[in-house]
Amino acid sequence: MMNPLIPLFVAVPLAGAFLTMILGKFIKNLNRYIGIIVLLFLAVSSYYSLINITGNVSVYKVGGWEPVNGIPIGIYMVMDSLTAILLCIINTIGLLAVFYSFSYISRYTSENYFYALFCLMVAGMNGVVLSGDLFNIYVFIEISAISSYALVAFGVEREQLEATFKYQVLGGLASLLILMGIGFIYWKAKTLNLADIKTALGTAPEKNHYLLVQMLLLSGFGLKAAIIPFHAWLPDAHSSAPSPISAMLSGVLIKAAGIYVILRLFFNMFIISEEVAILITTLGTLSMVIGVLLAIGQWDIKRLLAYHSISQMGYVVMSVGIGMILVARNTKPEIASLAIFGGLFHLINHAAFKSLLFLNAGAIEYRIGTRNLQEMGGMSAFMPATSSTSFIASMSISGIPPFNGFFSKLIIIIAAIMARFYLLALIAVIVSIITLASFMKFQRYAFYNKEVQKDENSPKEVPFPMVFSMIALGILCLLLSLLVLPQVRDTVLKPAIDILMNSQMYISPILGT
């Protein structure tokens, strides 16, 4: 079975970017229409794909190059359940961020560039999750990374330029490590197709070479995902970008270009060894703890949120790492699948609440013009929609029922206890409590704390597009809790978990065996 929509996920946003640049000069507001139509199309088709995929793997061979003697030679784009979930996240958040930008970006000059770069970034991320080929993953990561470098510097003020320089140097280093890893893989395997690499390297790979490749790719994609020893660029880049872009970077880019690729490579391409799985779990735990400790002292809202991104990604990596350890030991598959479920569920939830929080921060900055918590206060009286949606998001991220963050954290903690990692479960609980404290501070200083009289000069609620995006994400935060129900989980997330646990399900449709 082949899904005809697969190439459109990359082609449509690319076409949108070029049309915006060519025609945007002549027709007023065309850039907005192109942006929203492209993202609407992508969102609808990603939901269509998610419904239709149901555990199948659908392969698109670019240019129709069929395998020769059973060896894949063309460029393969592969859509499976995990990809479909990631596509839904990317394009939903992208749609809402574009709609939000209608008001937010009108303050800046050269809107055409903004929408064109935005479409390019979405094209890159869609390409990363769709490609079944290691070198294409690199190319698409670079497309999304280069457009995000430009978008971080969109304000061209001192801070943005400094942040983007740091981001570019570290991002460039990450790409070089990835490219070196690809080179080493090609040296031994003589192929770049993910499924073919697994069969070519065989069941008993040469140990030193294998470990070197794994470390190179782990550090490369770890830099992209900002796992703790590689996190230095994230707080600067994510806090300096315009708010809709911060929402995209924090909500989607670190997942699509970092976590997703790590999951795909380590579950489906490598044979997981226990040492590497323990290393990944340790890195995740470190990110979780250090991220939240660094977040405590922050007074800049967006910096605070950026550090929490590191910490929440730590939850995802830790939970998936526990799953990897169990898969490597080849014991207790049901607990491993529970741990991976917790990780994926938290990944989806984090996309919803973290982008909502960045949009809230943008709304506050839009009206007051500052990001410093100490200069705010009493905003709940003027901005009811912003205040209530940010309350929902804060409660979600700190794990208060009935919001989505509670359920995913609960599942992660249950999985850690069932896998007998009691210390990790305890750390997860403590980090969650510190997160709650940090967000109580955010709520108190930004929205309450001060009695302010209403008069003509007091700030108003933000314009409709911004309010709409925030409320939609707030509702999404509540609705995503439904994924914990067994029926919903089995239809949406179970196929993705199965593909990760059993790499033969991913390999055989691609190689046609």
Binding site: E162, Q168, P235
Partner: protein, 112 residues
């Protein structure tokens, strides 16, 4: 084996420069040196001793060809590297206009 080692030494030279230099332009140059070392490495992977240009010749079916795929990869990677370098240089020009210096020790608004 010696060429691979030289490649790795070039990579380390770039890494050393990136860590120790204080001038933004020199950091970018170091990044480019690292990039070049990896391109060389990729090109070396495809090399076959006594190999010929990989265009299939019907008259001579037993010819040994060099592997063309790493060459294609290097071309793509060079284009990407060019885009990254151009982007970095344009950011450096903007930084110089705002800060009037290229010294990384004086460009540190973002902390903590």
């Amino acid at each position: 084996m010696v060429v691979y080692l030289l490649c790795f030494i070039l990579f380390l030279v770039g890494l050393y420069g990136m860590i120790t230099r204080r001038n933004l332009v020199k950091i970018v140059i170091s990044l480019s040196i690292m990039e070049i070392s990896i391109f060389l490495f990729l090109a070396l992977i495809g090399y076959v001793h006594d190999g010929v240009v990989p265009i299939v010749d019907p008259a001579n079916p037993d010819a040994k060809y060099v592997d063309p795929l790493p060459q294609a990869m290097v071309l793509t990677a060079i284009v990407i590297g060019l885009a990254t370098t151009a982007m970095l240089m344009s950011v450096i020009i903007r930084i110089y206009r705002k800060y009037k210096t290229l010294d990384i020790r004086e460009i540190k608004n973002l902390r903590g």
